[in-house]
C-alpha cells in the first residue's frame, strides 16, 4: 500500500460496530466496479492466503452474492451478501451471513449489516464501510429465554442458572 493511502479501522464496542475507511488510488467508477462485479470481486475480496470464488452474483436490490472463501488447504467458508439498497455509484447496504453451499443462511451464526459508501477524493476514492454486528437482538433473546423461567430476587437462583448458560 502506498504510504499516503488513508486507512482507519475503528471498533465501537458500545454500538457493536466496526468502521473501516480506506482510500484507493483509482476513480470511483472503477472502485465501484471492483465491489460490485463478481469477476473483479473474486480477485481481491478474501484476505490472503484465502481465495474467493463466486457461485452466484445478482447485484441489485433484493439480489445477493453467494461466494466461497477458500483456504490453501481447501477449507471452504460459504458466505452470502444480500443487497438491501443500492445507489450507484454512491453506496449500498447489505446483510452479510454465513451459509452453506446451497446458499442457505445459518440462523445460529451471527451475521452483520454493512453500509458501504464511495466518495471522490481528487483522483482517488475513499470507501467507508460500517459493519454493524447483529449480536444484540439474537444474543439478548437467548439470554432472556434462559432467564424468563421465573427468576426470584435471590442469589441462590443465580447458582442454578449460570451453569446452564456456561454449557452453551
Amino acid at each position: 500500500m502506498a504510504p499516503d493511502l488513508r486507512f482507519e479501522f475503528v471498533a465501537d464496542k458500545s454500538r457493536s460496530t466496526i468502521t473501516v475507511t480506506r482510500e484507493f488510488n483509482a476513480r470511483r467508477q472503477l472502485v465501484w466496479d471492483c465491489y460490485t462485479k463478481s469477476e473483479l470481486l473474486d480477485q481481491w475480496f478474501a484476505p490472503k492466503p484465502l481465495t474467493t470464488k463466486t457461485r452466484h452474483m445478482d447485484f441489485r436490490e433484493g439480489g445477493y452474492w453467494h461466494f466461497a472463501m477458500i483456504t490453501p488447504d481447501n477449507q471452504v467458508f460459504w458466505n452470502r451478501l444480500d443487497y438491501k439498497t443500492i445507489t450507484p455509484i454512491d453506496g449500498y447496504t447489505a446483510r452479510d451471513g454465513f451459509c452453506d453451499e446451497a446458499g442457505v443462511v445459518n440462523p445460529d451464526l451471527p451475521g452483520s449489516d454493512q453500509e458501504v459508501s464511495f466518495i471522490d477524493q481528487d483522483t482517488r476514492t475513499v470507501v467507508t464501510t460500517v459493519v454493524q454486528y447483529a449480536s444484540a437482538e439474537s444474543l439478548q433473546a437467548a439470554v432472556d429465554m434462559g432467564l424468563e423461567g421465573g427468576i426470584a430476587s435471590t442469589l441462590s437462583r443465580l447458582d442454578e442458572l449460570l451453569p446452564t448458560l456456561q454449557a452453551g
Partner: protein, 114 residues
C-alpha cells in the same frame, strides 16, 4: 473465520452495555462479589444478575461460589484474546484492501495501455 466473528459478537454484546463495561473495569482491579459489584448501580438485583450472566456467557468473566457468596473475576486471557481478535480482523481488512490496490493498479494499467 466463523469462530472469530462469533467471539467478536459475544464480546461486543457483553461490552455494549455501560453497566457491564463498568463491571469489567471494576474486575480489572481485582475480584469482587456480586453484591459488591451491584452496589454502585441503582437497579434491582435480578436486572444486575442478567448483566453478570451475559458477561459469563461471553467468557470475559468467571465466578465461583463459597457458602452463599458468589465472587466474580476477570478472565484476563479471554479479554486479551478479544483485543487480539480485533487486531486480526483489522489485518484481514488490510490484506483484502492490499489485494484491491493491486487489482486497481492492474485495471488502470490495462486502460492506459488500451
Amino acid at each position: 473465520m466463523a469462530n472469530q466473528t462469533m467471539v467478536l459478537d459475544s464480546v461486543f454484546h457483553a461490552l455494549a452495555d455501560p453497566t457491564r463495561r463498568a463491571v469489567i473495569q471494576r474486575l480489572g482491579r481485582g475480584e469482587a462479589t456480586v453484591s459488591e459489584l451491584a452496589r454502585p448501580f441503582d437497579m434491582a438485583l435480578p436486572s444486575f444478575v442478567k448483566h453478570i450472566s451475559v458477561l459469563e456467557r461471553s467468557r470475559l468473566i468467571r465466578s465461583y461460589k463459597r457458602g452463599r457468596v458468589r465472587t466474580c473475576s476477570l478472565e484476563r486471557d479471554n479479554f486479551a484474546a478479544a483485543e487480539r481478535w480485533l487486531d486480526e480482523l483489522r489485518a484481514q481488512w488490510a490484506s483484502r484492501y492490499s489485494n484491491l490496490d493491486i487489482l486497481l493498479a492492474k485495471l488502470n494499467g490495462d486502460d492506459n495501455g488500451a
